[in-house]
Structure formats: structure tokens, C-alpha cells
């Protein structure tokens, strides 16, 4: 409430109606995917499918081996997360807590991938990784996803490390911790929320990625988003919807977890584009 006069009834009604329309605008596409995925013989111009079925999921299992696709997606996401954290944690530490010369240059290098559209470098990544025999390998696809994940991981981790109070580190030193003990017993517990947020984010950007995966996938490394695209392109809208349901549920769960840790503005800034 900014100022204290009551709304007139008709303005109140207008507000409720427009909010309801907004909710429908956002939610209905998701409803459609669920109806299409669970509905049998639904050809439209009818409000609901005549019968419910799981056959599209069964199709997805039989025709495109959806379990393998799901396992691919999870393995690639896990690899991308591990690599992104491994390279981002030391870099973020250097940025946050050392008197790093040319810090602006380093930040510029790290954030550069976020400044240009994915397709502009996906093209080159596809070519170079092909020359290096990295296409159609878990490692190759995961490495490409690290390009998306690392810049944001560095941002989150830098602000986490900056927030660690020097006095706690000094206390650790006073009580005789060596460097590795200091890291394991003092820094790690303090930075854990930031590290978890960076890990969740890295996984999510790998899980959701489409463009880079499209340039690198092969028969052994099809992921859920690429499979949705391929199945839809083949004209099987219902099967594509079933795969989308499988894709969507973990994505929403991860998102809800991530939103508890990171301010939404930062999340959008990191997740895509600038």
C-alpha cells in the first residue's frame, strides 16, 4: 500500500479481472501440455480430451528410449555442475578476497559469453568440438554447458566469498588451522549456501539448454530438450508433450529450490543473456 485511500469497487473489480486474465495467460500453455500428454484422441475444438491415457508416455519409452534420454540429461547436468564449480570456486575466491590486478579484465572475460546470443558462438563450438572429437560425448556437451553456467557461478560465489567475515578466518588461524583445515572447517560451511545455489544454477542451465546441445548432440547424447524438439519436428505433438512433462517437473522443482536462495533479479540476469 503506498497511500491510504480505499479503491473504488469498479477499480477493484477491474484489477481482479485483469489479474485473472494474466494468470490464465501464463498458466494455460502449461495446462495444454498436460492435456495433450495425458489425453487420448484429442483433436481440438473440444474443451477436453474424451479419454485419459498414459500411452504417449509408453510411446516415448518405446520409440525414443526416454529413460536413456533422461539418464543422458542427468549425467551431462552432473558433469557440467562439477566442472563449473571446479573452475569457478578458485576464480571467485581470487576475485573476492585477493588484491587481483586487472580484475575488470578478468570479469569482462568471464561475463563475455553472457553478452552475445548463444547461437553466435554455438556455431563455432559445434565446429571446434567436432574437430576435437568431443561431439556426441557426455564430456563435450557438458563442457559446452559450463560456458553458460560458469559466469553466473562466479557471480554468486564472488558475492558469497565477499560476505565471509575476516574475523572468523583470523579466529581459525589463531586456533591453529592450516590452510586446508581453514578451507574445510571455516570457509566451506560459511560459503555452503552460495555453493549450493551455484551448483543448482549450473545444473539447471545445463538441464534447460537447447541451442548448444543441438550443435553437439549425437545418437548417444540426446537430452530431454533436444528430444522434445526432434519428436515435435516429427509431428508427434502428444509424445512431445509427454516428454515435456517429464522435462518440466524436475525443472520446476529445481527452480523453486533456487528461488529460495537467489533474488529473482539476479537469477534472470544470470540465467540468460546480458
Amino acid at each position: 500500500m503506498t497511500f491510504g485511500f480505499r479503491m473504488r469497487p469498479w477499480r477493484r473489480l477491474l484489477m481482479i479481472v485483469s489479474l485473472a486474465l494474466f494468470v490464465l495467460f501464463i498458466i494455460l500453455p502449461f495446462v495444454m501440455i498436460f492435456l495433450q500428454a495425458f489425453g487420448a484422441d484429442w483433436f481440438g475444438m473440444e474443451p477436453l480430451p474424451r479419454a485419459w491415457t498414459l500411452k504417449w508416455f509408453q510411446w516415448a519409452g518405446e520409440t525414443v528410449d526416454i529413460v536413456k534420454v533422461l539418464i543422458n540429461t542427468l549425467i551431462i547436468g552432473f558433469l557440467a555442475t562439477v566442472i563449473a564449480l571446479a573452475v569457478s570456486i578458485p576464480a571467485a575466491w581470487a576475485i573476492a578476497r585477493r588484491r587481483l590486478p586487472l580484475k575488470g579484465l578478468l570479469m569482462g572475460l568471464i561475463l563475455f559469453p553472457r553478452m552475445i546470443p548463444e547461437i553466435t558462438y554455438a556455431l563455432g563450438v559445434g565446429r571446434i568440438f567436432y574437430f576435437l572429437n568431443l561431439t556426441n560425448t557426455y564430456l563435450g556437451v557438458a563442457l559446452a554447458h559450463v560456458i553458460l553456467a560458469a559466469p553466473f557461478a562466479v557471480l554468486v560465489l564472488t558475492s558469497t566469498f565477499e560476505g565471509i567475515d575476516n574475523r572468523l578466518l583470523e579466529a581459525g588461524t589463531v586456533f591453529g588451522c592450516n590452510t586446508s583445515q581453514l578451507f574445510l572447517r571455516v570457509i566451506l560451511p560459511l560459503a555452503l549456501p552460495g555453493i549450493v545455489a551455484a551448483a543448482l544454477f549450473s545444473f539447471l542451465s545445463s538441464y534447460n539448454d537447447f541451442v548448444l546441445t543441438l550443435m553437439l548432440y549425437g545418437p548417444d547424447t540426446v537430452t530431454l530438450s533436444v528430444q522434445t524438439f526432434l519428436t515435435f519436428g516429427d509431428g508427434y505433438t502428444s509424445v512431445a508433450s509427454a516428454i515435456s512433462v517429464i522435462l518440466l517437473i524436475p525443472a520446476l522443482l529445481f527452480l523453486a529450490a533456487l528461488l529460495r536462495m537467489v533474488k529473482p533479479e539476479n537469477l534472470l540476469g544470470g540465467l540468460k543473456g546480458a
Binding site: T2, F3, S18, L19, F22, I26, P29, M32, I33, F43, G44, E46, I83, P90, A91, W93, A94, R97, R99, L100, P101, P113, I116, P117, I119, T120, Y121, L123, G124, V125, R127, I128, A144, I147, A150, V154, G163, I164, D165, N166, E170, T173, A197, N208, V211, L214, S225, G233, T237, S241, S244, L255, K263, E265, L267, L268, L271, K272, G273, A274
Partner: protein, 293 residues
């Protein structure tokens, strides 16, 4: 993320250092090496490719001049910019009232705030699929218009048209602007508005004379963010565009369908340059905003 203020974040454990710490670059080295290999090398390769002739060796500007001078190339650029501008305009028109409503307290507010984020944070491909089904000739919208309220004699054709693409872009990309505009609105001091009310201004007058001018930097920043997303959009136009192919889709098809890598590379460089300039403008606006507040 919560964080306590720290007196001097650059001081290392133990004694304070005043000299620059070149050794710290060793910590950043793995990331720098990774980006050099996986990002900058492919990017440089693309730039080099863009100056190569289609067959055989030798440098040329032909890939650029052919694209920029041809009617087809200009059409692609025009379509990309038009789609992005329209999506930005509609998104801002949707975001401002939404942000104004979200300043009030009401039942279900946090749900609306969550909904406002979801389209941007799920795979765009899934959203595009749902949108295509909803706005199909036989989808729910046309069922409602034709069979329920009888306002349209025939189903509207929305999928695979330019207005349809703008609608889909808005659905997926408006959160970027809405968030910036909402946070801009929340940072306006309520006492300024109260002063306007006390001095007898109507709510409309308060909005246009007080809120709107203060909100202008956020409107610009939000617009640029939406524009950037729409400009780089790939998966959405790929499956919802039909015959309308904006730049990102053209790059992809030129490279992977027609296998004309140098031409595709030149288009990618043009696209990257346009976006990089816009990002610079955005950064300038953001830093200007921080300086004044």
C-alpha cells in the same frame, strides 16, 4: 543472498596486503584456460570463417556484403528487429500495470510473483509447444471464441504468423522487463507520491507527473533486457516461426542445412556485434541509475 557487510573484502587471511597480488591469477587460471578453449577459440574461429571464401582460400568481405546488401538479408534483419521491438513494446505495456498492482498487498500476491518468473525460467521450447497448442486453429482460444462466446465466425490463425510470434515472445520474455520495472517501482520513495496526493493531485496525475519520470530509467533498462532476449531468441522462432525466420534461425539453417559456414559465420558476427553494443548501452544505463540513487 544474505551477506554481512565486511570492512575490507580484499584483505587476505592474516596480515593485510597492500601490494597487487599477481599470484592470485593462478586461482583464476583454470577458468580462463577453459573459456579460452571452449569459448574464445570457437568464437575466434567463427570470426575467421566469416572472412573466408565459400570454396578455397583467401580473405573476403563478400559474406558480409552479400548478406547486408541482399533483399533477403535485409528482410531477415528487419524481421528480427521488428519482432524484438514489438515484443518489447507489448511486454512493457503489460509489465507496468502488473508492477503497479504488485505494489499493493492482496491475497495470492506471492503466487502472481512466482508466475511472473516461470516463463523465463523453464526451457523456452516447452513454453513454445504449449503456446502452439493453446493458440492452434482447434485450440482452447479458438474453441472459446467460436463455440462458446460466438464472437468469431471462423477460428483465428495465430500460430506461425508474425502477430502470433510477437505474442509468444511476450509470454516468454516479459519477465525480464517486469522484474526490472517492479524493482524500479519499489525503489521510489512513497513519501514523494504522498506529497503529490497531499497537494491534491489525482492518482492519474501522480502517476504521470511523479511516478513515471522516476521510473523512466527502469523502463529503459527493462526494455533493453527484453529486446536483447527477443533479439537472440532461437528455439521459439525455430518451432513457432514457420516460414518466418529471424536471424538466429537463419544462422542455424544456413550452417546446418545449407552447410554454408562462412556465410553463417558472418551473420553470427553481425548478430554478436549488434547485441554487444546494446549490452554496453544497458550497462551504461545501469551504472547511471546506481550513481543517481
Amino acid at each position: 543472498m544474505k551477506q554481512q557487510p565486511v570492512e575490507s573484502p580484499t584483505v587476505t587471511v592474516g596480515k593485510a596486503r597492500t601490494r597487487l597480488d599477481w599470484a592470485a591469477w593462478a586461482l583464476a587460471l583454470p577458468l580462463v584456460v577453459f573459456l579460452a578453449f571452449a569459448f574464445f577459440y570457437p568464437l575466434g574461429y567463427t570470426v575467421v570463417q566469416s572472412f573466408l571464401k565459400e570454396h578455397g582460400a583467401g580473405a573476403t568481405l563478400l559474406n558480409y556484403s552479400q548478406f547486408l546488401a541482399s533483399g533477403k538479408g535485409q528482410g531477415v534483419l528487419l524481421l528480427t528487429v521488428f519482432l524484438s521491438l514489438m515484443a518489447t513494446l507489448v511486454s512493457v505495456l503489460l509489465s507496468v500495470p502488473l508492477a503497479l498492482v504488485l505494489r499493493k498487498r492482496f491475497f495470492g500476491k506471492s503466487f502472481i510473483q512466482f508466475l511472473m518468473l516461470v516463463p523465463a525460467l523453464i526451457p523456452a521450447l516447452v513454453g513454445a509447444l504449449g503456446l502452439l497448442i493453446l493458440y492452434d486453429r482447434t485450440g482452447w482460444l479458438n474453441y472459446f471464441l467460436v463455440r462458446v462466446v460466438h464472437v468469431a465466425p471462423h477460428p483465428l490463425v495465430i500460430d506461425y504468423t508474425i502477430p502470433g510470434m510477437i505474442l509468444f515472445y511476450v509470454w516468454i520474455y516479459f519477465p525480464y522487463g517486469a522484474l526490472v520495472i517492479l524493482s524500479g517501482l519499489q525503489s521510489i520513495d512513497p513519501s514523494v507520491e504522498e506529497a503529490g496526493v497531499v497537494l491534491g493531485a489525482s492518482p492519474t496525475r501522480v502517476f504521470w507527473s511523479i511516478v513515471f519520470p522516476l521510473l523512466r530509467p527502469s523502463l529503459w533498462a527493462g526494455s533493453i533486457l527484453i529486446f536483447l532476449q527477443a533479439f537472440g531468441a532461437f528455439s521459439v522462432p525455430l518451432i513457432t516461426g514457420g516460414n518466418h525466420r529471424p536471424l538466429a534461425v537463419m544462422i542455424y539453417t544456413t550452417a546446418t542445412v545449407f552447410l554454408e559456414w562462412p556465410r553463417a559465420s558472418a551473420m553470427a558476427v553481425i548478430m554478436g556485434l549488434i547485441q554487444a553494443v546494446l549490452v554496453m548501452v544497458f550497462r551504461r544505463l545501469q551504472s547511471g541509475k546506481e550513481a543517481t540513487s
